[in-house]
Symmetry: C2
Subunit: 246 residues, 2 copies
Amino acid sequence: MSFIRNILNSRSSKDGNFFLQLQNILGFKPKNKSLYRKAFTHRSMNLKDKKGNPINYERLEFVGDAMLSSIIAAYLYGQVPHGDEGYLTKMRSKVVSREHLNELGKDLKLIDFVVSRISKSSFGDNIHGNLFESLIGAIYLDRGYSYCEKFIHKNVIIPYVDIETLEGKVISYKSLLIEWCQKEKKSFDYDVYEDTGKDELKHFSVKLSIDEKVIAKGRATSKKKAEEKASKRAFFAFQKQITKPI
Amino acid sequence: MSFIRNILNSRSSKDGNFFLQLQNILGFKPKNKSLYRKAFTHRSMNLKDKKGNPINYERLEFVGDAMLSSIIAAYLYGQVPHGDEGYLTKMRSKVVSREHLNELGKDLKLIDFVVSRISKSSFGDNIHGNLFESLIGAIYLDRGYSYCEKFIHKNVIIPYVDIETLEGKVISYKSLLIEWCQKEKKSFDYDVYEDTGKDELKHFSVKLSIDEKVIAKGRATSKKKAEEKASKRAFFAFQKQITKPI
């Protein structure tokens, strides 16, 4: 028991820091903080509420998964007027694939927030996607559908979802963006630098400037990937294709 | 072509009636009427918009199915604090089962609204559930998540979903209600009458009064089923168990 108490105490002292970092990711202030604590509590903690119900993120995953599916469904409906039910289902399953969700959770470094009795290094890759889903569940239960929708637009749709890529039509956003800059007579610059920080793997960051103004940033494990991320973000910012569904 | 035109003309003359009846079901006034027309247009009509995209209810089913799943997920999360992810998934799949959705669509007589080139008698049973989903999709796209949530609470959760039944614990709401009335010293009366109307099958309606005030109604293909429906509605009305999730 003292083991758990120690963990909880040490967490409690870090609570302020946790919510500060979380707020950066969310883009808004959490109201019901206990939901977010739950969203990052691993089952190995064996925590229970007064009624004996387990406190961990697994039930929130269920809610988050459902919300993600419906928000992506509505987005695809609006974006692809020619796609039939089968097509829409296929496109959605690409967006919410386990692999993709893991990538999203990794990008937000959600694993840093996990409270667990077992070592983080022993988790499989799916923990990243699971935490991403549980966070979405907490957002829905804390602030409702529209906050959830905004979070998914900002963190899933804008940086990662576009129909051309899903259909395998666009290979490189960097080349698309360069083509566009040349056509529009705009100057562009990719400022790439090593940005490994505390990560185990080497990381790179890039600042993409167009007409000498920083338009988008990207960070990834290779220069090419970081450039591609920044290019995609810039491309969408310019195209203003990221509108609400309907 | 003149065939389609005739159908469309005859439909157009019935448009006012369609929206009047629909409004009764929805409980609010539709804003974007074309969405609801689409929600009841069968693919056999072969309709296309100016860009050549098909106009029928199949894409709306995709959106409605996703919304239904997420709203039921959130509801179950709130109602069953002891249920783990697997339990919640299983409970949801019972609520949104094909059989159940068909029953819901049938109850609302949605098939009466369908515009089709093929005879309605040749549709399989699934058309009822498909139309129910497409209607939910239209509601979401027309009025947003909260309207959709209210519609699903009114038409799915209140009359049909409760954990006890899903878990197979409650066999009869009629006996539960009678027991409750006896305990609370309330008088009760089931007023059953034949109410087949234009249906092919014989139907019965029931008015359930408690302390001489009509509390709930039910309509079904047998006296017993109609009484059970009314009892369930009355039971929930009294228990006020039907609250928003969270």
